[in-house]
Amino acid sequence: MRILRRNFWRNLACAILLAVVGVSVAANWLAPGGYAKQYREATDAGPTRQHWLGTDEIGRDRFARVLYGTRISLLLAPAAALLSTLMAALVGGLGGYLGGRWARGAMAVTDLFLSLPWLFLLITVRALMPLNVSPLASVLVTFLILGLLGWTSAARVLCSTAGSLRESDFVRQARASGIRGTRLFWIHVLPNLKPVLYAQFWISIPAFILSEANLGILGLGVAEPMPSWGSLLKELEGLVSVGEEPWKFVPLLLLVVVVTSFQLVLSKQEEVSA
């Protein structure tokens, strides 16, 4: 019975994800007006038959923007989260597993990354980039940067976890079985870091989506007129109450639903292995 129920939620989550991906892929047909067209006679409007989710401040169809924004964010945020998770596993996990000098080195690198003045570094990155960057390239670079920067706190946790794994009985047993060092790491250490890695991955996705929006301040992030979840969520900044214009919360709702669904789908494996 319990399994059945769990399967139900899992299937629902799968269905939601498929629907979201499907709808965003079909954006060209579902929102033929495109995400950039400005309906200047109907700005900041509520939902109508023509604009299902109303229009934004300069009259762009919010439904189209949500669909196209989903494409960008749903593709790039998990990719960046994956990148940062791998970095964390590599630096923290491997450093902790190798122990001694390596662990100290890994922590030194992590501390260095944590202490770097990122703001200035990002400004420099923007200065190095040409001004005429296509909106897509800009958002790609942004997520790449996020992926390359977002791993540090997880690396610290991984380093200490891997350090204690190194001393564990099953690693000793595995070494006594003659299993090679690198194999030992992949087979025995990494799978046991999974919970931390999963957490890093899931925390990163919404965090990156929001950071992308904030990096707009430095001229990074998605550029106008292209939408992303981050830029759509920015609309909520000045909003005082939910009741007034509930349709503006659709991007937030979508973010929550998608992240939850992902978690449901993927936590299944984790549950079994635990």
């Binding site: 009985d169 047993q173 006594a176 079985s177 003659g178 194999r183 087979i187």
Partner: protein, 275 residues
């Protein structure tokens, strides 16, 4: 002690181990294990038993522990062997079974994966060979070799089963020497006796020498040919099981003997009467 020819000896250790500047953990310990022999190494915790096991496997922390002496195995000195060759011996020629079966198995992996990894570490062969070897090893420890069983995670097994899995893993490559480090200490009495019987059985059928390390003289007595008593980093007494048990010479051995549980006299008498 009876002298043996070198070919009869599987392992001969003369070793001292010291961690940093602290007093030595092992002080000139000499130990010989004959082919197919079961040697019991008895000592209380902290006497250096596990250090000896780790030293034999070359798994001492090389930066912190300093080992001096020789460990002769198969005609070469393990202390002088490079890591790469040592790794080739571990699990293939010398195997280890640790105390706590559940923590000695990786909780994140199915047991098949763990057995497969142990097999792959020393054998090149396709998956059929691997499956066959795993099946044989599981059968030899009286575990089911069904698909359903090997797909289990360690948390889904009993402690006794887990210990058998560990032993199966250890005998996968038919090692010449098996080191059992407190291998039965964490088990309940019945499981303990079953596992002891299994060791004896494996020792007989594979001709595999066993270094049986334990703090518990009673459990050692059941399976060992010879016993060595380790006290404060030194072997204080060694001899055949019968010799040591019937005529303990060293004061520490005597204390160990005295600490062994005995049946109350009246119960023993009544039992005798009943028979």
């Amino acid at each position: 002690m009876k002298e043996r020819s070198p070919s009869e000896v599987v392992l001969a250790a003369h070793i001292s181990v010291q961690y940093g500047d602290r007093s030595p953990v092992l002080r000139g310990v000499s130990l010989e294990i004959g082919r197919g022999e079961v040697l019991g190494l008895v000592g209380q915790s902290g006497s250096g038993k596990s250090t000896l096991a780790m030293a034999i496997l070359g798994l001492l922390d090389r930066k912190r522990a300093r080992a001096e002496g020789t460990i002769e195995f198969d005609g070469c000195d393990l202390l002088k062997l490079p890591e790469r060759e040592l790794r080739g011996l571990r699990g293939r020629k010398i195997a280890l079974v640790l105390q706590s079966p559940l923590s000695s198995l990786n909780p994140a992996l199915k047991i098949r994966t763990q057995l497969k990894e142990a097999w792959r570490a020393h054998a090149a062969g396709d998956s059929t060979d691997c499956e066959a070897a795993i099946r044989a090893a599981l059968q030899s420890v009286s575990l089911p070799s069904t698909d359903e069983f090997v797909r289990k995670y360690p948390s889904q097994m009993s402690v006794g089963q887990a210990q058998r899995v560990l032993i199966a893993m250890a005998v996968l490559h038919r090692p010449a020497l098996l080191i059992a480090d407190e291998a039965t200490s964490a088990l309940d009495v019945i499981t303990q006796s079953e596992i002891l019987a299994l060791f004896r059985e494996l020792n007989r059928s594979f001709g595999m020498a066993i270094l049986y390390i334990s703090h518990d003289l009673a459990s050692v007595a059941g399976i060992c040919d010879r016993i060595a008593i380790l006290h404060e980093g030194q072997i204080v007494e060694s001899g055949t099981t019968v010799e040591v048990l019937t005529n303990p010479r060293h004061e520490y051995t005597q204390r160990l003997m005295a600490a062994m549980p005995k049946m109350p006299r009246e119960v023993a008498a009544r039992k005798a009467a009943a028979i």
